[in-house]
Amino acid sequence: MTTLTSDLDPGDFGEPRALTTRYSLTDRIFRGTSRSAGTFVLLVMVLVGGFLTAHAVRAISSVGVVKFVTTQEWSPETNHFGIAAVLTFTVLIAMVALTVAVPLSLGGALFITEIAPPRLKKIMTSVIDLMAAVPSVVYGLWGLSYLQNHVVGLSYWISTYFGWIPLFKVDGAEPGNPLPNTALYTSSTFIAGLIVGMMIIPIQTSMMVESFSRAPQGEREGAYALGATRWGVIRSVVLPFGKGGIIGGVMLGLGRALGETIAIYLIISPVFSVSFHVLQNGSNSVAAMIALRYGEANSFAMSALMAAGLALFLLTMAINFTASMIISRSRSGAESEV
């Protein structure tokens, strides 16, 4: 056995050549232009936050941050306003929306990725995309003039039989009355939440579909080889793999639900005192309040609305960044983002 040794000094290979790229003038112009487009988009985003803050300072400084967060009423004219009530209702509506939307979108996403035959899969994907493109005013109209009439009966039933749970209580309800006063059950947090739930199904479903479809084929086959049924594969491979996608999708949906305006604006009748009775007439949301009040606002009241908008902006941004972080850290999202 011989060992071959190189005659060459290993030092000759040591340093790689330094490569420099010199771009032509055209390329430099191109790079500069597209970079400035990116910068512009970044700037718009910063400006949104900046302008809201700049306009909100006047209102917030006149009452203080603590009072702004804890006051329920909204009357800037008497310098007595805060977002405690509207924010609570916003979160309640979002919670109702999630209760409706999460099981449906989870089921829908599993159906699309695991169960549907290929042709149906394509159709379902289109349906989900179309659902996202339907304008919110259309959902609002449907909720106002169709869904509301049909859901009032359900609200009445729930409040009659489960009224002992504080969440489902309706003040002034008469369970024994054969002709119940249905006006008590209209324009409620529950109905607004149902509509918003429908509107966030598409974003949640498409996020979940994206993460489920990345579940490795080998692991699925491994599970089948060990005797798992299709449900077994879903439970032991797909769901654990797509956990990040599920959480991220739910949070993205939550962000959308908090920011939804027009559908809520059409359905609720605004109230400004915190109430957890979701079935009862009267609700509110930050976005709907802004849309309702901007017209009558003088410059100070406008500043107060900007402050409410700023709170909403910060809340949705926080939720969104958390969501995208969860998605990109998870196993299913690891390959998806650069």
């Binding site: 919110s136 299709r230 059409l266």
Partner: protein, 434 residues
């Protein structure tokens, strides 16, 4: 000179062909296992379904034991129970559980589809009653050709229309597209072709921005444009607000499309000596063209339906206003909202008709996007392939003509002994056969 002689001397000319590599989508691995079903299994579900629908109808409309609202729910629960019992007659527990969850997932898909079609169907039906009402009074276009300027709240449906909202929507979305398309595509190019740390920051921010509450975008434009610059509601401010909302959607989908452009196409361009800009202009953008069209159309469909930002910036008017820079200019979703808020039934009917018009616009855009974007980046339709083949043949003729001219020139000037090359005819035959 030597190069040409070399080619003519070469024994085996290689087949010259450029093929766009076929690429399967990155996400879907090929499925190798498909679970089939026996006849028995296939019959169980429809049978249980028929039985449960029959039970629901019996208890509800026929016997009147339960109110009509409960019929679907009772039927569904009965279906699940019956289905589980039927399956468990022959199968073990694991299979029963599998079948039960499959039934639930099917129903989840079904519910989503049903809800969507109920929403679309309801609004279109209510709107249709207005459109058809118009034709009963003779052929009368007034709903689309007049505004609401001289129409009172109690006037019949045959007076007044939504021309002002149509004009507003078209102008606002036009301006928004004019701003969004170049900016969006340039940013997507930046994210994909230039990259780096800064691009990653921009991408994160764009992604967060897709969930910007629409009312916040409206407030921003109200504070930045209306309070500071124009001091009045106008259509241009509304289109700026729509732009703020459309940009992230546009950038995101354009980014996804460009990421699917095969890297070796880009590298081939660079290897041929093209600069970065030439590669983007001649390789990346043409390859991603259909996907980019889809991105633009889908962003338009989203932007056209935005209501809250328009409410805060465009102002409400019932008059036709062609000038987006001066005075309030209403758009379709906003007009629908205003009509529906009225207690008058005629006004509400107009609201539904306006919403139906808007919905039809969105549906048309959506179908257009599906038709255009049914293909992946780099994969061509039959027509595109034929057109490209024709262009390539044309190029081939040009190349051959040049080749012949040069070789003749060489033959005349250099050595008379060199025979006319046989290469071109072989090239021609290989070109035609492909």
């Amino acid at each position: 000179m030597t190069a040409v002689q070399k080619t003519s001397d070469e024994a085996e000319p290689r087949e010259l062909r450029t093929v766009v590599p076929e690429r399967s989508p990155v996400t879907s691995e090929q499925e190798r296992i498909r679970i089939g079903m026996s006849l028995d299994q296939r019959i169980t579900a429809p049978g249980a379904m028929a039985a449960s629908v029959a039970l629901g109808l019996l208890l509800g409309p026929v016997l009147g034991l339960i109110s009509p609202g409960w019929v679907p729910l009772v039927s569904f629960v009965w279906f699940l129970g019956l289905f589980v019992v039927l399956v468990s007659l022959y199968e073990n527990r694991t299979t029963v559980r599998d079948r039960f969850w499959a039934a639930l997932l099917w129903s989840a898909g079904g519910v989503v589809v049903t809800v969507l079609f109920m929403v679309i169907g309801f609004v279109l039906l209510r709107g249709w009653s207005v459109f058809s009402h118009l034709s009963w009074h003779g052929w009368n276009h007034n709903f689309f050709t007049t505004d609401m300027g001289i129409t009172g709240p109690l006037d019949p449906i045959t007076k007044g229309g939504i021309l002002h909202a149509l004009v507003g929507t078209l102008e606002q979305i036009g301006i928004a597209l004019f701003l969004t398309v170049p900016l969006g595509i340039a940013t997507a190019v930046f994210l994909n072709e230039i990259g780096g740390r800064y691009a990653r920051i921009v991408r994160t921010v764009v992604e967060a921005m897709t969930a910007l509450p629409s009312v916040v975008a409206g407030l921003f434009i109200y504070g930045a444009v209306i309070l500071l610059v124009t001091r009045q509601f106008n259509g241009f401010a509304a289109s700026l607000a729509i732009t703020v909302l459309m940009l992230p959607i546009m950038i995101r989908s354009a980014d996804v499309v460009m990421r699917l452009v095969p890297g070796n196409l880009r590298e081939a361009g660079l290897a041929l000596g093209a600069g970065q800009w030439s590669v983007v202009r001649r390789v990346v953008l043409p390859t991603a063209r259909s996907g980019l069209m889809t991105a633009i159309i889908l962003a338009t469909a989203h932007g056209i339906g935005e209501t809250a930002p328009v409410l805060l910036t465009a102002g409400v008017t019932s008059n036709l206003n062609f000038n987006p820079f001066n005075g309030p200019q209403i758009s379709l979703p906003l007009a629908a909202l205003e009509f529906v808020k009225s207690p008058e039934p005629v006004m509400r009917a107009r609201g539904f008709a306006t919403a139906a018009t808007l919905l039809l616009l969105v549906l048309v855009l959506f179908l257009l996007a599906r038709l255009l974007g049914g293909q992946q980046a780099g994969q061509l339709t039959e027509r595109q392939r034929r057109r490209r083949a024709a262009r390539s043949e044309h190029d081939l003729e040009r190349v051959e003509a040049n080749y012949l001219a040069i070789s003749q020139l060489l033959a005349e000037t250099a050595s008379p002994s060199t025979a006319a090359p046989a290469g071109p005819s072989r090239y021609l035959s290989s070109g035609e056969s492909s």
